[in-house]
């Protein structure tokens, strides 16, 4: 009886996914159809033409109403896929792949696996110790640790949905590049002695690689991830979209061109400086980014801002202090921030 019920709910979950795919496809394809403004409320989102308070409020409300279902649908879909992906790339398996790898190849592999092996920042420290004590080189461990938060799969798919494959590809490519290069540099500096001494003493058990799991279990992991992550993150998404909506409605067009534009030399560093102490879920930051772009911010500055918010966060740095000495932390933050700056300038200059 209970089994039947479980099968049924699984079927329901699958059905929900199919419906979600169809619905999100419909939402996206109808975006362009509606853009000329046939159905005004949902026709997102021409910049406010008038300057009356009513126009601004309408523009903000349009933005909000249009983006909430779209973002939530997308988020659910992505998280489901990632939950299934995660069941293939457990940290134990990743560690096995990376142990004893040489520089470069190891860094590239580490960065790629960082995208596929998501973890929350509270697990950064045990992961770090687990990797280092299993013989994964420090630089390779860093390549992994840098991509995992910075190239966030949720952000990636949301970017894909909102801006198309070019911006998403730029984000993925440059994020990987920063992680690979930073890892190689940290490896070169021979900073092993700047890991807190007790880490080397830990005799981490091998941990079991996990029994073989069935497809049905994988699907259930995906569903669990949706319930867990979407259940936790949806208020953040709403706040993000609300901030985006306010920017969309009330910030004059091109106001951002001055602050975050490509013309000034300080646009990129300012974006990074503002971004580092901010800690937001990627799902919350993408709508804000979208609104900033609308207002004339340059793509490079915006990407830099987003990477700084997601990839470098104050809480993470504080947690890392338990295993890394200040100099290594400073090197880590410095190199990653430098890489982000470079990416920002590069895109501002070339696009």
């Amino acid at each position: 009886m209970l089994r039947d019920w479980k099968n049924l709910s699984l079927l329901g979950a699958l059905l929900a996914v199919v419906v979600t795919v169809v619905a999100s496809h419909w939402v996206f394809s109808s975006t362009d159809a509606l853009r000329p403004g046939a159905l005004h409320l949902f026709a997102c989102c021409p910049s406010p033409k008038g300057t009356t308070p009513a126009d601004r409020a309408t523009a903000a409300l349009d933005y909000f109403i249009f983006h909430v279902p779209k973002m939530l649908l997308l988020l659910g879909l992505v998280v489901f896929g990632v939950g299934i992906l995660r069941s293939f790339f457990t940290p134990e398996r990743t560690r096995k792949i990376l142990a004893g790898r040489r520089q470069f190849v190891g860094n590239v592999l580490g960065a790629l696996l960082g995208v596929a092996t998501p973890f929350c920042s509270c697990s950064a420290v045990p992961l770090f110790i687990g990797f280092v004590s299993a013989g994964v080189p420090l630089g390779v461990t860093f390549s992994f640790l840098i991509t995992a938060p910075m190239v966030n799969e949720v952000a990636l798919v949301l970017l894909l949905g909102m801006f198309g494959w070019k911006v998403a590809g730029l984000y993925l490519g440059t994020g990987l590049l920063i992680a690979i290069v930073s890892g190689i540099i940290i490896g070169r500096f021979k900073m092993e002695s700047h890991v807190q001494p007790w880490v080397h003493k830990v005799q981490a058990a091998a941990g079991d690689a996990g029994a073989a799991i069935t497809t049905r279990q994988r699907l259930r992991y995906g569903w669990e991830a949706v319930r867990d992550i979407v259940g936790r993150v949806w208020p953040v998404v709403l706040v993000g979209i609300a901030v985006g909506a306010v920017i969309h409605g009330y910030v004059p067009a091109n106001a951002m061109a001055w602050i975050m534009g490509a013309k000034t030399w300080w646009g990129v560093p300012l974006s990074v400086l503002v971004g580092i102490p901010m800690y937001s879920n990627p799902a919350g930051i993408v709508p804000v980014v979208s609104a900033l772009l609308d207002k004339g911010a340059a793509l490079g500055s915006v990407l830099a801002f987003m990477m700084a918010v997601i990839g470098l966060s104050l809480p993470e740095i504080i947690i890392l202090q338990r295993v890394l000495r200040p100099r290594l932390i400073a090197l880590f933050v410095g190199i990653v921030a430098g890489g982000i700056l470079l990416v920002g300038y590069l895109f501002n200059l070339t696009l």
């Binding site: 973890f119 509270c122 697990s123 045990p126 110790i129 830990v202 981490a204 058990a205 941990g207 867990d228």
Partner: protein
């Protein structure tokens, strides 16, 4: 008598896992002792890299997620 150990540095999920584990053990009516392992060094000795994790009598049964009460029941049998 079973020893249930909750490995984790005290995040919200660790508390949820502890609740689930207790509920499962009570439902089965077995005697148990619940321990919270919050020391990072000790957690590493279990070979766990992603918290929260559940160990029964010293054996890691699940890590990186919060299994449902039903699942934990199966682990305890």
């Amino acid at each position: 008598m079973k020893t249930l150990q909750i490995l984790g540095t005290g995040c919200a999920k660790c508390h949820l896992l502890a609740d689930h584990a207790q509920a499962a053990a009570r439902a089965l009516g077995i005697e148990f002792e619940l321990q919270r392992v919050t020391d990072l060094q000790r957690i590493m000795e279990f070979g766990v890299m992603v918290t929260p994790a559940l160990a029964v009598d010293g054996q890691v049964k699940a890590s990186g997620r919060v299994p449902s009460v039903e699942e934990i029941k199966a682990m305890l049998r």
